[in-house]
């Protein structure tokens, strides 16, 4: 049974010409971790506020456990939220912050005490209970903010970019922590972020939003391997997918696309048969950095690889591997090379194109061409 259903959610701000949310449909299962990801201004925060009841919707319905809550007050929705700025009450101690919602709901004192201690244990903030938020570090404040949400044991948790105010190292730690917490507690979480790595690592499913429209809803693997359109393909993954305009050509029994390096060297890349209908036409080849690498003996047997030498324009060592830029058909294309075999910029490198996982897009509709 789905825990939270968003049915055709629409939202237009008063006085605005365009809809901010243009009919969002998402079903979230009980215990599922869903991330809403998209560039700023895509409507993800509006959607989250709408679920929480902090903003009203102009159309559609929000259903929790079969009950329509669209018009309910935030306090009656049994939803907790963790804010980007943490929003801890500055005049209250950590203990009071966590207990506030329970007190208002009229929970008996000794139960509140127990609940605060349970949550403090869970998040390892027991030592901080009597401090004021201003005395805590960013990471500690983050924990308290989560504690406040956990204490109420709501049906649904909303996280509004909770890690974006932390420094890089702490962000990765907290990310792991949130994931652990979710695995332990099996809570239903909707998590808003603009960071696609956070989205990939945390989510059971990802909803990619752009301009108030749902672009794709799927598991991280689905979204990464089979993006619905050019936007999703370019947004998910870092470094992002490269897009090359190519023409599908018949070559003997199979199909190929031709690419040309900056030095004029040409290479025919084998493409799958489902592009038969596109023979003679232009398509957009979407290729991720890891699909272009130094030759790998094991892959050579496959029909779907091709090799040639290309001039490396830029190299960016990341430690485990080297990101190199080559120019194909006049666009920069990123490739991921083995750090054990360094290549310098300006040199030529033997590169292998693994065409098994590349994707193709219709240049007009920008949608992925399905097999």
């Amino acid at each position: 049974m789905s825990q939270l259903e968003l049915r055709d959610i629409r939202k237009t701000y008063p006085g605005a010409l365009d809809e901010t949310l243009k009919g969002i449909n998402i079903d979230i299962a009980s215990g599922e971790f869903l991330t809403l990801v998209g560039p700023s201004g895509c409507g993800k925060s509006t959607l989250m506020n709408s679920i929480a009841g902090l903003e009203s919707i102009t159309g559609g319905s929000i259903v929790v456990e079969g009950k329509d809550i669209s018009t309910m007050e935030p306090k009656d929705r049994d939803i907790a939220m963790v804010f980007q700025s943490y929003a801890l009450y500055p005049t209250m101690s950590v203990r009071e912050n966590i207990a506030f919602g329970l007190k208002i709901r009229g929970m008996p004192k000794d139960e509140i005490q127990q609940e605060v201690e349970r949550v403090a244990d869970l998040l390892q903030i027991s030592a901080l209970l009597d401090k004021k938020p201003a005395r805590l570090s960013g990471g500690q404040q983050q924990r308290v903010a989560m504690g406040r949400a956990l204490a109420r044991r709501p049906k649904i948790y909303l996280f509004d970019e909770p890690l974006s105010n932390l420094d890089a190292k702490l962000r990765v730690e907290m990310r792991t922590e949130i994931k652990k917490l979710h695995q332990r507690l099996k809570t239903t979480i909707v998590y808003v972020t603009h960071d696609q790595i956070e989205a990939m690592t945390l989510a059971d499913r990802i909803a990619v939003l752009k301009d108030g429209e749902l672009q794709q809803l799927g598991t991280p693997k689905e979204v990464y391997d089979t993006p619905e359109n050019l936007f999703v393909a370019g947004f998910m993954g870092s470094p992002s997918m490269s897009f090359i305009n190519v023409t599908v050509e018949q070559a003997g029994p199979g199909l190929v696309v031709n690419i040309e390096g900056s030095d004029g060297r040409k290479l025919a890349l084998p493409v799958p048969d489902y592009l038969q209908g596109w023979a003679g036409k232009q398509v957009v080849l979407g290729i991720r950095p890891e699909h272009i690498s130094q030759p790998d003996e094991q892959k050579r047997d496959s029909q779907m690889v091709a090799e040639s030498r290309f001039t490396v324009e830029v190299t960016e060592p990341t430690g485990p591997d080297i990101l190199a830029v080559i120019r194909l058909n006049n666009v920069d294309v990123q490739c991921r090379l083995d750090a054990e075999h360094p290549v310098n910029w300006g040199e030529e490198a033997e590169l292998m194109f693994d065409m098994r996982k590349v994707v193709f897009f219709d240049p007009d509709s920008e949608k992925r061409i399905r097999p």
Binding site: E73, M81, Q84, F100, R105, R148
Partner: protein, 289 residues
């Protein structure tokens, strides 16, 4: 910076301190003259220098001003009027400050259609001169049956002060993140709970600003006091005026000065007690985070 501190007595430093000391003196001399004159005997005042110390220190001026001096027909000193002023100022300050806090809360955290316009219009209240409202206010108080009462005077000061206190609190609350209110709403807190449990406890600095501002304004007010109060309900500012103007025989400057000091003391005390919040509170909210 540290270099400048260490070298200490540069000519420029001396000049700065000199100017500051001079400014202090200019502001303090009237107070000093008042203070020492209030402890002199009438003889001493007539014979001596304005700035000279009293030859005989005496508190007769103070006791007379407090309980014997004539303010018009009655000769009971200013003590009754001093308490009148308290009875008027304390409720007026508290009510106008709380109303201002509440207005500020609504105008910053629960914006509605036209709330910014309303706030803009409310600000006009800060610029309306006292004299303009005298007649309509008198008519209103008359209709309400509150003419010549302390309650009426409180009402006038509350109405007049709300524009300022709203401005203070609204600007203070605008700087407080909205997420706090959202979090409280999700925690189940309602409109008033959020105000009393979350925002008001955060308001100490601006509360102090409003307190000092309103206390000084209302305590020192003369015009409303002289127009809207009479006889027994008059505030001390009016009594002081009557005391100084009631001259039968020799002018008792020591009594006048003591009465003036008595009238000025409460505002001084309030400023000293709450002053450290004043500057802090005035600058808070002016810089948005």
């Amino acid at each position: 910076m540290t270099d400048m501190v260490r070298t200490g007595f540069r000519p420029s430093r001396i000049a700065i301190y000199g100017v500051l000391l001079l400014a202090c003196l200019v502001y303090l001399i009237p107070l000093i003259v008042m203070l020492i004159t209030s402890f002199k005997t009438p003889m001493d005042i007539r014979s001596g220098n304005l700035l000279a110390m009293p030859t005989d220190w005496t508190t007769i001026g103070w006791t007379k001003a407090w309980s014997e001096a004539c303010t018009g027909v009655q000769c009971e000193g200013v003590k009754g009027y001093f308490w009148n002023s308290f009875k008027m100022t304390v409720p007026a300050v508290m009510i106008s400050t709380l109303l201002g806090a509440f207005n500020g809360y609504v105008l910053s955290k629960w914006k509605f259609k036209g709330s910014d316009l309303l706030f803009g219009m409310l600000l006009f209240g800060c610029f309306v001169p006292f004299q303009v409202v005298l007649l309509p206010m008198a008519a209103t108080l008359g209709k309400l049956g509150m003419a010549n009462t302390t309650a009426g005077l409180v009402l006038v000061h509350v109405i007049y002060g709300v524009a300022f206190t709203t401005l203070f609190f609204r600007n203070y609350y605008v700087a407080i993140p909205d997420a706090l209110v959202k979090a409280a709403r999700l925690d189940g807190a309602g409109f008033f709970t959020i105000f009393f449990r979350i925002l008001l406890p955060m308001s100490t600095p601006i509360f102090m600003v409003s307190l000092i501002w309103q206390f000084t304004q209302i305590w020192n007010d003369f015009l409303f006091g002289v127009v809207f109060a009479s006889g027994d309900s008059q505030p001390i500012t009016v009594a002081l005026n009557n005391l100084v103007n009631t001259s039968t025989g020799v002018k008792e400057y020591n009594v006048d000065m003591a009465a003036a000091m008595i009238a000025a003391l409460p505002t001084l005390v309030v400023y000293i007690v709450a002053g450290k919040y004043f500057i802090r509170g005035l600058t808070a909210g002016s810089v948005k985070g």
